[in-house]
């Protein structure tokens, strides 16, 4: 029994001069929901494709299940389920035909195949629609079918590449409850997303930016570690001059607009509430409310990326 479902070290993927994935290193535990969070083009899909054996890494090493990433990609393919970013089922086939095809491809047959198909159809809630041509399904249902096709053969690791992009919020929530169900069955899920709210569902998260992992931990760890000083929310009027003002102060490490308020992070050892109140008053800006808040992942992410930019 290997303790890790995925383990990579110094994984690199270059496309010509472009380094898509730059020496990343992480481990995914069995049964964990591991999130890969990052903006478009950060290297999320490239990483997941390397882990699924679809792209050969330029260098580095890694293991998926107990198989070597560089040498045993065909063995990896037997124990994983993959859902690609772009919908890639056959849209001229019906729901059942798609399920049946992938069941056959994964070597299922006979009564056990029928039983699995029935079970999966119920799980993804498409039993009623099983004879519909896939093309005619709404996006959210297509994604559920894609998930269904990838779990038919009961893989031990599931790789989902932006499974909910373009899906409405309710369908997204349904989808995540399915992923959590899989987690309860000790299936490891590796999921990429650029939705911050979804990242909260993950057991652990890796933040990836420009091909590098810039932070890794549970969502609350990330919040505490990154924004240890805390996050100050300031409501004032007018907003923009206040933002410009704060950005110029040396004791402010970060100031950003967030809705109709400002989020401010101070340097260590600064009494932020007092300083902010003072400077706004000096410049005749009306302060409506000021208070410490719990940072969201988005704050964490924005903060980390800004730090990266400074480096």
């Amino acid at each position: 029994m290997v303790e890790f479902a995925v383990k990579v070290e110094d994984l690199v993927k270059r496309f010509g001069d472009f380094v898509a994935v730059d020496h990343i290193r992480f481990q995914v535990e069995r049964g964990e929901i591991f999130g890969f969070l990052g903006p478009n083009g950060a290297g999320k899909s490239t990483t997941i494709r390397m882990l699924c054996g679809l792209l050969m890494p330029t260098s580095g090493k890694g293991k998926v299940a107990e198989f070597d990433l560089m040498k045993e990609s065909e063995k990896i393919k037997q124990v994983i389920g993959y859902m690609s970013q772009k919908f890639s089922l056959y849209d001229d086939l019906t729901v059942t035909e798609n399920l049946h095809f992938f069941g056959g491809i994964y070597g299922l047959s006979g009564p056990s195949q029928r039983q699995r198909e029935k079970h999966v159809l119920e799980m993804i809630g498409l039993t009623e629609l099983r004879d519909r041509i896939t093309r005619t399904l709404p996006v959210g249902w297509k994604q559920r079918l894609a998930l269904g096709c990838s779990i038919l053969h009961e893989p031990s690791i599931l790789f989902l590449d932006e499974p909910t992009s373009g899906v409405d919020p309710i369908s997204r929530r349904n989808f995540w409850s399915l992923i959590q169900q899989m987690g309860e069955k000790n299936v490891t899920t590796f999921v990429t997303t650029h939705y911050m709210d979804e990242a909260e569902y993950c057991g652990r998260l890796a933040l990836i930016y420009q091909g590098r992992i810039i932070a890794l931990g549970t969502p609350s760890e990330l919040k505490v570690k990154t924004l240890a000083q805390g996050l100050l929310e300031v409501e004032c009027d007018p907003l923009i001059p206040a933002l410009d003002l704060l950005k110029r102060e040396p004791w402010v490490s970060e100031a950003a607009m967030f809705g109709d308020a400002l989020h401010v992070i101070g340097r260590e050892g600064v009494d932020l509430v007092q300083e902010v109140s003072r400077i706004l008053a000096d410049h005749g800006i009306h302060l409506k409310r000021i208070g410490w808040i719990r940072p969201s992942l988005e704050d964490v992410f924005v903060s980390l990326i800004e730090k990266e930019g400074e480096r």
């Binding site: 699924c52 679809l54 919908f87 890639s88 992938f102 491809i105 994964y106």
Partner: protein, 377 residues
């Protein structure tokens, strides 16, 4: 290789074919359409050539000679003209293809026992037709001369004249020298070449272009299973097209099928595999469906049409081109179909062609599995 996986692929392809009615119709109607088009268009029998006559002699004898032409199925006498200028105009305008000019002393010369000269004008714009017309003209003239000679000898009463040599020709395999009997079997081979390459020319590249290949290569499916699974449904479609073409040849074009139907289908199966494998190679190498389609048309059509011996006899080609023809599969298949149709030969005469085609099919599939990578490109 797992049969269940191969079958899963085949079944999926069948669904694609079944759901895509337009392509299915195309696959079935295309051979029928090509058969009719080529079958009627490529006939090189020249019949009812429009002719004009300028009879300067105006005697019983000259009229009799002209009738020799007009009464035959090969010529149809359109008009008598008064002078050479008018004849030239008719030929220029394309209203007649052949002009017959008899001199004023035609009958006199013959009666005197001398050789009469007859002028024949042939429109040579279509050299093939012109050649055939010339052949007919000479045959008519020769026969006329022969008859006259016999008449003369009989009149002189010197007994019975025997020609020194008489060639008694008998044409084998295509007794009536009907060009369709020669063309249609070759046409079947050409059509199967085009259809075969076209059928599989899309199957791989389409999955890349639609994005479905990404998921497919993330599964444990093996390359061999994928290729064989994809090939099978199209193989049977190919057999369907073949049956259609053979039936049309036999019942619409009335081409005699002298050999064994079973042998024809068996050896054709080998060729269909070769053509499908070629299509697969195109589909594997091509990056877009459009490119694959164009390649399929060119690669499926040109060699089978030009280098197979279907339109142009291989033995008349320059030797370097003859060598090239050995590398194109249709060459062997054209031979197989023609031999079975017209000569009715058995396998003992065709094993070499079959062997070459089998080798080509195997090599083709080998190249496909070599070129296809279960990796994103």
């Amino acid at each position: 290789m797992k049969l269940s996986r191969t079958w899963a692929i085949s079944k999926k392809e069948l669904f694609h074919i079944y759901r895509d009615r337009r392509s299915l119709a195309l696959v079935i109607l295309m051979p029928a359409f090509l058969m009719l088009l080529f079958g009627y268009a490529t006939t090189i029998d020249v019949k009812k050539v429009p002719m004009g006559a300028l009879d300067r002699d105006r005697t019983q004898e000259s009229l009799f000679f002209i009738q020799r032409f007009s009464a035959s199925p090969y010529f149809s006498l359109r008009t008598f003209v008064q002078n050479e200028k008018e004849m030239t105009r008719l030929i220029d305008e394309g209203r007649v293809k052949m002009g017959l000019i008899l001199p004023w002393d035609f009958s006199e010369t013959i009666k005197a026992g001398n050789m009469a000269s007859v002028q024949i004008l042939v429109d040579g714009t279509d050299s093939n037709t012109a050649n055939i017309i010339l052949g007919y003209v000479q045959a008519v003239a020769r026969q006329y001369t022969q008859e006259k000679t016999f008449e003369k000898v009989a009149r002189l009463g010197t007994g019975h004249l025997q020609l020194p040599v008489e060639g008694r020709t008998r044409v084998w395999f295509n007794e009536d020298l009907e060009s369709k009997n020669y063309f249609i079997p070759g046409l079947i081979a050409v059509i199967m070449s085009i259809i075969g390459v076209l059928l599989t020319g899309q199957v791989i590249v389409r999955e890349w272009e639609k994005g479905t290949m990404e998921l497919l290569i993330s599964t444990p499916v093996q390359k061999g299973e994928l290729m064989i699974g994809k090939l099978l449904p199209y193989f049977f479609l190919g057999l369907l097209d073949l049956s259609l073409a053979v039936c049309m040849a036999k019942w619409i074009f009335q081409v005699p099928l002298r050999g064994s139907v079973v042998l024809l289908f068996l050896l054709s199966s080998v060729y269909i595999l070769t053509a499908l494998a070629l299509g697969m190679i195109i589909s594997t190498v091509a990056r877009t469906q459009l490119f694959a389609n164009q390649m399929s048309m060119i690669i499926g059509f040109l060699p089978s049409f030009l280098l197979s011996g279907f339109t142009f006899s291989i033995s008349n080609m320059p030797s370097w081109l003859q060598i090239i023809t050995y590398t194109v599969a249709p060459r062997y298949y054209v031979t197989i179909v023609k031999e079975i149709f017209l000569k009715g030969v058995g396998f003992s005469f065709l094993w070499r062609e079959t062997l070459v085609l089998s080798g080509m099919a195997a090599a083709g599939l080998w190249v496909v599995t070599l070129k296809f990578k279960k990796e994103l490109r």
